[in-house]
Amino acid sequence: MKPLNYAILKHFTTVKEASADDVIEALKGEYGKFKALNKKDVIAALMTAEANCLLEETRFDLDDAGNLRVYYRANEDGAATINKYIKD
């Protein structure tokens, strides 16, 4: 089992793009009991990864409840860096 933050980043090397909600949905099977698998902490992790060029924003919209939903992806360089430091 990988640390939660690693799993969040690794998720982006397997999908085209994802939002914080998508990440939580994808990881809740394995990490459902982790306190840090919540929207606030996951958004902070994604924005920090973006600030460090691991991820980049692709688009954003409002969900049905009117909450902001930002999508990110790992571009080639970002994915290479993630895979370099975080092994499977």
Partner: protein, 360 residues
């Protein structure tokens, strides 16, 4: 893609982005403030209980070498160990202890351990040795670490570093020099140049730590990163640095005996517990702030500790505990204002402030 988003989404997105940026700067500034309190409470702890005798009457008959080097390393070791206990406790409370042990075995975990060794025992020792060899002139030298961190961030991680940001960093470093210059006395002994070079290793080490560990916390949770940092720093100070100084001072028994006395000195440990808490919060905020707004801005905001250090020592030691010699010289207040301006220059083009006013 963005064109399709409606105005409400754009407004919400802009709000989220500016909140994140502001939060990063606030956290980095807060790390500087907490560093000031950590310095103040550490100094207080090292004047209480058994430390009062060691640095005062010295009934134990400790040599000048032991008082200067070994006690300095012991103070750091006790503080970092207390800090590690706080960090482990907090990680446990936040349900992150499992991830702490998992991270230790990974590449980012190893990088974090390297940062802890470089920023902990290596830089701290270089600083103390530099201080002893060259005198207090080395204090402003270490203020170079934000500039070093920003340059390393550019070289290693391709972080933004334009001319405006370099100017801002230069202003901050100059302000730190102004504060540090107040502690320069006529105490420069022979071997000063070598001492300055050794102190520069400390600035290099802290610059490296802030930049690399800051980037590392984009992969490792900052709360886990700081737990690794303080545990490694505390343990390496206790297990490596202290015995090395002990051997140099005459024997392992001495360092072990002093460590036991320090850890069992109740009146001092109370303050070490508080300094350890402040150090934990300070370093965690430092790493987090650097990862949120880049090494250049993060380290400059953290660099306000050059002002917060004397300020908190004045409040805690001078005002609250009535100790003499902790008042702040006027130049430090002027430097603090200059530093705020420097940070502003790194963070944004000050001319934009006027442009926005005009737009309104």
């Amino acid at each position: 893609m963005r064109g399709t988003a409606n105005a409400a989404a754009v407004a919400a997105k802009n709000k989220l982005s500016s909140q994140f940026y502001r939060k990063g700067i606030t956290i980095a500034l807060f790390s500087g403030l907490m560093y000031g309190f950590y310095s103040a409470f550490l100094t207080l702890g090292m004047s209480k209980g058994v430390w009062g005798d060691w640095y005062g009457v010295n009934a134990a008959g400790l040599s000048a070498f032991v008082v200067t080097y070994l006690l300095g390393a012991l103070g750091s070791a006790v503080n970092d160990t207390c800090s590690a206990v706080w960090a482990m406790g907090y990680a446990g409370f936040r349900g992150k202890l499992g991830d702490f042990f998992r991270c230790l075995k990974t590449t980012p975990g190893h990088v974090m351990i390297l940062c802890a060794l470089i920023g902990g025992p290596i830089s701290s020792t270089a600083y103390v040795v530099g201080l002893q060899m060259a005198g207090s002139i080395v204090i402003p030298i270490t203020a170079l670490c934000p500039a070093i961190g920003a340059i390393l961030g550019r070289l290693l991680f391709k972080q933004e570093l334009n001319k405006r940001m370099m100017l801002g960093i230069a202003i901050c470093v100059a302000a730190s020099f102004m504060i540090g210059s107040t502690s320069i006395g006529g105490d420069a002994p022979p071997g000063m140049f070598l001492g300055i070079c050794i102190a520069f290793i400390a600035a290099l080490g802290w610059g490296f730590e802030g930049c690399v560990a800051g980037y590392g916390t984009s992969m490792i949770d900052s709360e886990i990163g700081i737990t690794i940092r303080q545990a490694v720093s505390g343990l390496s100070n206790l297990i490596i640095l202290l015995p090395v100084f002990g051997l140099m001072a005459g024997g392992l028994n001495l360092s072990t005996s002093l460590a036991i006395q320090a850890f069992t000195s109740g009146p001092a440990m109370f303050w070490f517990a508080i300094s350890g808490l402040c150090a934990f919060v300070s370093y965690m905020s430092w790493y987090r702030g650097n990862s949120m707004c880049g090494a250049a801005l993060g380290m400059a905001a953290n660099g306000t500790y050059s002002f917060w250090g004397p300020f908190c020592c004045w409040i805690v030691l001078g005002v609250i505990f009535g100790m003499d010699g902790w008042s702040i010289p006027p130049i430090a207040w002027a430097a603090a204002v200059l530093m705020v301006f420097g940070i502003l220059v790194i963070a944004m083009n000050p001319m934009d402030l006027f442009k926005k006013k005009e737009a309104k």
